[in-house]
């Protein structure tokens, strides 16, 4: 289970990492802290099961990254969960149209995040027992 976290804020990052280590302990998390870093080809053709993308990134915007992900063959079908601290209808609309699969405004409650992750990765307990499993 490979999770890509595109987020630069350490508080949010540590929370996400805590969530995954608690409920999906066998998942592998890769963190990229800026859109630029990502677009420069840091993705090394990995196969990710889930991408969590913050919209307010330094450098390239979350929208651009999202579109790039959707355009690339390797990531075309990977679920992208967009998170943002600037919750407006405009942002929500735009990111969903840019290809995001889900939208969670910050600060999020654990239950909300788990519900979304469960939708794309299966339930946590299933993961625990099954170990790693590719999509």
């Amino acid at each position: 289970m490979k999770i890509l976290l595109i987020e630069d804020d350490h508080d949010v990052l540590s929370t996400l990492e805590s969530i995954f280590s608690s409920f999906y302990p066998h998942s592998e998390m890769i963190n990229i802290r800026s859109g630029e870093e990502f677009l420069r080809g840091a993705w090394k053709s990995e196969t990710w099961n889930l991408i969590i993308l913050d919209l307010m990134l330094p450098g390239a915007t979350g929208f651009d990254v999202c579109q790039a992900l959707r355009n690339h063959n390797d990531t075309k079908h990977v679920p992208i969960v967009a998170i943002t601290g600037y919750d407006t209808l405009e942002n929500k609309d735009r990111i969903l149209r840019s290809g995001a699969s889900a939208y969670i405004p910050k600060p999020f409650e654990i239950k909300d995040v788990l519900a979304v992750i469960k939708k794309y990765l299966g339930s946590a307990s299933a993961q625990k027992s099954l170990g790693r499993s590719p999509t």
């Binding site: 804020d9 949010v12 805590s18 969530i19 601290g85 600037y86 209808l89 910050k106 600060p107």
Partner: protein, 522 residues
């Protein structure tokens, strides 16, 4: 005295002075001329009389010589002089001035009889009757001459005196006239200068003050006030300037205020957004802890409190972001009633859940008005939601819309100004509930940001503040009435309507079409 009055006085005074001066000439002139003429005439008369007397005297002398010497030359002389005297007499009696003399007839008689006697004497002498001639001369002629002489001398004297008198009078009048004219002219000049002087001062002093004021305003000193030391048109002008300056100052203050609010808003937005990241950490980690802490343990309760506090922070930040975000939507002709109805639909679930009965009285003749639809929807949503929250155990919600032409007393947006009367027409939307009402002391506060009477955790206290802001952007106002706790509340949103739109609404009105609450509602 107003400038206009002053000018009037000056003009009238000048005119009066001119007229007075003219009168002097018009009236005094003829008088003087008459006197002078009379004097001249008297002089002329006197000269005529004097000429006559001279002629008479020469005649008398020549006769005496002739009578004495008896030469024919003497007779010729006498004849000549006699003729002269006659001519002089003719001239004399022709004079218009002398015609009026009383004793002229007497003199005439004397003159005539003298002539006869002259002839008689000369005739006697020529016939050689010298002694007779001399006798007649002594007895009649010379006495007659004497008589005539004295009469003529009398007349001469009279005329001379008359001439002198008249001339005196004329001179006196002239002198007096000149003095008077000089006096009046001087007085006129002094008065004129005085009036012009006061006029000049009445104009220049305020003008200087006004000029200074205008320069101050030009330099941007809008708290300068023009004090004109007069109670005339300049005062009115100064007041108008002062009013204008006050308005500009208010506008300035308001602009600064708005800019500040905008900056604060932007700042708030930035801060709010920044807060969301650490808040994510707090909320997330707390909930993770809660998940793995048994609820029996004391730490669980404390963790729960942290979670609630974090959730409250989330709501506050949410409210702040709502307050500060740039406004969405555009101004477009919109049907207000449709907007109301669509907002109601959004609240359907809550209405049903709250067991609230909705009553609608919408005036369908209201024409589309230029509003920002999404924003007004937010306002209606806010008001309806507040109404629903005020009625915990069910109740009734009444929505009304109508046009009205009444004049309303509305709060003045300018800082520190009392409420203003604003004439209609208006579109009025009311949202009435029968819920918990608003306390009198809270009435002014409810529109303040972050003011809420709801329990902690419910509501951010920003809804009405945002709604009021939106409605004021539409040049409207939100008014609230509540009879007190437990007696329900009515919120009135008034939006300005143009006269044309109002007329259109009146025209559209059929016998009161009302959208009543239908029995079956989807």
């Amino acid at each position: 005295m107003s400038i206009r009055q002053r000018l009037g006085v000056v003009l009238v005074s000048m005119a009066a002075l001119m007229v007075t001066l003219s009168m002097f000439f018009v009236v005094g002139g003829p008088i003087m001329v008459k006197r002078f003429a009379r004097s001249m005439n008297a002089m002329d008369a006197y000269n005529l009389v004097r000429d006559y007397r001279s002629a008479l005297s020469r005649k008398h002398s020549s006769l005496k010589i002739y009578l004495l010497v008896g030469e024919s030359q003497g007779l010729n002389d006498f004849r000549d002089f006699s003729r002269d005297a006659s001519n002089a007499w003719e001239a004399l009696i022709k004079s218009p001035d002398l015609k009026l003399t009383q004793n002229l007839n007497e003199i005439k008689r004397s003159h005539e009889s003298l002539k006869k006697t002259d002839e008689a004497v000369v005739d006697l002498y020529q016939r050689g009757e010298k002694a007779q001639a001399l006798k007649l001369t002594d007895r009649d002629l010379f006495p007659q001459y004497e008589k005539l002489f004295s009469q003529v001398a009398e007349l001469e004297k009279d005329k001379r005196n008359e001439a002198a008198e008249n001339f005196q009078v004329f001179r006196k009048i002239s002198e007096r006239g000149v003095v008077l004219i000089v006096l009046v002219a001087s007085a006129a000049l002094v008065i004129a200068l005085f009036l012009l002087g006061t006029l000049y001062r009445a104009v220049m002093r305020p003008l200087v003050v006004l000029r200074t004021g205008a320069l101050e305003f030009g330099a941007g000193h809008w708290d300068h006030r023009i004090q004109v030391p007069a109670k005339n048109e300049f005062d009115t002008l100064a007041q108008a300037f002062n009013t204008m300056a006050e308005n500009v100052r208010q506008l300035q203050l308001q602009t600064i205020h708005m800019e500040r609010m905008s900056t604060v808003g932007q700042l708030a937005g930035g801060v709010a957004h920044e807060l969301n990241n650490p808040l994510t950490g707090v909320l997330g980690q707390t909930q993770l802890l809660l998940d793995r802490t048994p609820s029996e343990q004391p730490e669980w309760a404390q963790l729960k409190k942290i979670e609630q506090a974090a959730l409250r922070c989330k709501r506050i930040v949410r409210g702040l972001l709502d307050f500060s975000r740039p406004q969405e939507g555009q101004f477009q002709p919109t049907n207000i009633n449709e907007l109301l109805l669509s907002t109601l639909e959004l609240c359907e679930a809550d209405i049903k859940a709250g067991k609230v009965h909705v009553h609608k009285e919408l005036d369908l003749s209201i024409p589309p008005i230029n509003v920002n639809g999404p924003q007004l929807e937010q306002v209606f949503l806010n008001l309806i939601t507040n109404a629903l929250h005020a009625m915990d155990n069910g109740g009734s919600l009444t929505l009304k819309s109508r046009v009205t032409s009444e004049e309303l007393v509305l709060p003045d947006r300018r800082i520190g100004h009392p409420p203003q009367k604003r004439p209609g027409p208006w579109v009025e939307i009311t949202v009435t509930d029968v819920g918990c009402g608003i306390r009198k002391e809270d009435m002014t506060k409810i529109f303040e940001p972050f003011f809420t009477t709801k329990d902690i955790g419910k509501g951010t206290g920003l809804g009405l503040a945002i709604s009021l802001g939106i409605v004021r952007t539409h040049s409207g106002e939100i008014l609230v009435e509540s009879d007190g706790p437990g007696k329900g509340t009515t919120f009135r949103v008034v939006l300005p309507l143009s006269k044309t739109q109002y007329t259109e609404a009146i025209k559209r009105k059929e016998p009161s079409p009302r959208y009543e609450n239908p029995a079956h509602r989807r």
